[in-house]
């Protein structure tokens, strides 16, 4: 995979998207015991009522941003599976949990995209909770939005590839 001409790219290389998709399925499968399916052509611009976990995998040249958009019901379900009890959606612990899930995903993504030539390290995660959330990408960098679903979960991952500043 050649990222030298990123300025000329209008989409993220397919092999990188494939590795990230694989990481999402592996990570959520390991955490919950149910591997979410990738839902093709399911891009939605509906606003989110839930939590967004943000984390990046970066090197000195490029930054791969990962934004996990998790609806309220899925977040509560994840808390039940991950820590054995339902966390209140509004609690600080819920933000901690989604941040940690983003961190675990980033660790898997970093190891996985290295296989296609992108070597980077993961940042510390952040999380934000809200209603009617819309994700905007300034300057329109190469972006891929993916939907995943399983019987108990539904969530989106938006990945953005940009130059490291």
């Amino acid at each position: 995979m050649n990222l030298d001409n990123l300025y000329e790219l209008n989409q993220i290389p397919e092999e990188m998207i494939g590795k990230v998709r694989e990481s999402v399925m592996n990570t959520f499968g390991s955490m919950t015991g149910e591997v979410p399916s990738y839902i093709e052509n399911a891009s939605s611009d509906d606003p989110l009522n839930g939590i967004v976990g943000n984390v990046t995998v970066f090197n000195s040249d490029h930054t791969l941003s990962l934004m996990l958009a998790i609806p309220r019901e899925t977040a509560v379900y994840l808390s039940e599976v991950f820590i054995g009890m339902e966390l209140p959606f509004e609690s600080d612990d819920m933000g901690d949990l989604i941040g940690e899930i983003s961190n675990i995903l980033a660790g898997d993504v970093a190891a996985n995209v290295e296989k296609v030539g992108f070597r980077g390290q993961s940042s510390l995660p952040t999380a934000m909770r809200g209603s009617d959330l819309m994700l905007f990408m300034p300057n329109k960098p190469p972006t891929e939005k993916m939907k995943f679903s399983s019987p108990n979960m539904e969530f989106w991952l938006t990945m953005v590839l940009s130059e490291s500043k």
């Binding site: 991950f82 961190n103 995903l105």
Partner: protein
């Protein structure tokens, strides 16, 4: 207050309170020893709380202020050669495993999300049947742990 006989003083270092709870819960469920926990939210906090009563360390990598590997290295640099250091981290690449084990001086490497089985494999050799910590020949432990760390990852 007198410490109960047989209690193993373990330090759990992670910037996520949820993960510290998960590690403590997993260790208690394994019942390989009777643990008493000290918690720290990053490497800097851990270094401040570390003392010679701590017998085993469970350390995350990616934390603010001081990473887990920097903390592990600081512990080793203070001459604590025998204390088992178990990295419990989301970092999975072989380069990271190598850095934690060699540069940080960690003994074991457990990747998140971890299962009870994965944690058991990482720590069981450090305890005898009565839940006492085993401190064996350093060189032997070192080579054995390297391969175990790889397997657990």
């Amino acid at each position: 207050m007198e410490q109960a006989m047989g209690k193993i003083k373990a330090m759990v270092v992670d910037d996520s309170k949820i993960m510290r709870s998960a590690v403590k819960r997993a260790l208690n469920q394994l019942m390989v020893a009777d643990f008493e926990f000290v918690e720290a939210m990053d490497g800097e906090d851990a270094l401040g709380k570390f003392n010679n009563e701590i017998e085993i360390l469970f350390v995350d990598w990616n934390m603010p202020n001081m990473t887990g590997v920097e903390f592990a290295k600081a512990v080793r640099d203070k001459g604590n050669d025998q204390i088992p250091i178990i990295m419990v981290t989301a970092e999975k690449s072989m380069g990271k495993v190598d850095k934690a084990l060699n540069e940080g001086g960690a003994n074991e490497y457990v990747t998140k999300p971890f299962t009870a089985d994965k944690m058991h494999k990482a720590i069981s050799d450090y305890f005898d049947d009565d839940g006492n910590l085993i401190t064996g020949d350093e060189d032997d432990n070192e080579s054995k742990s390297f391969f175990k760390g790889i397997l657990n990852s």
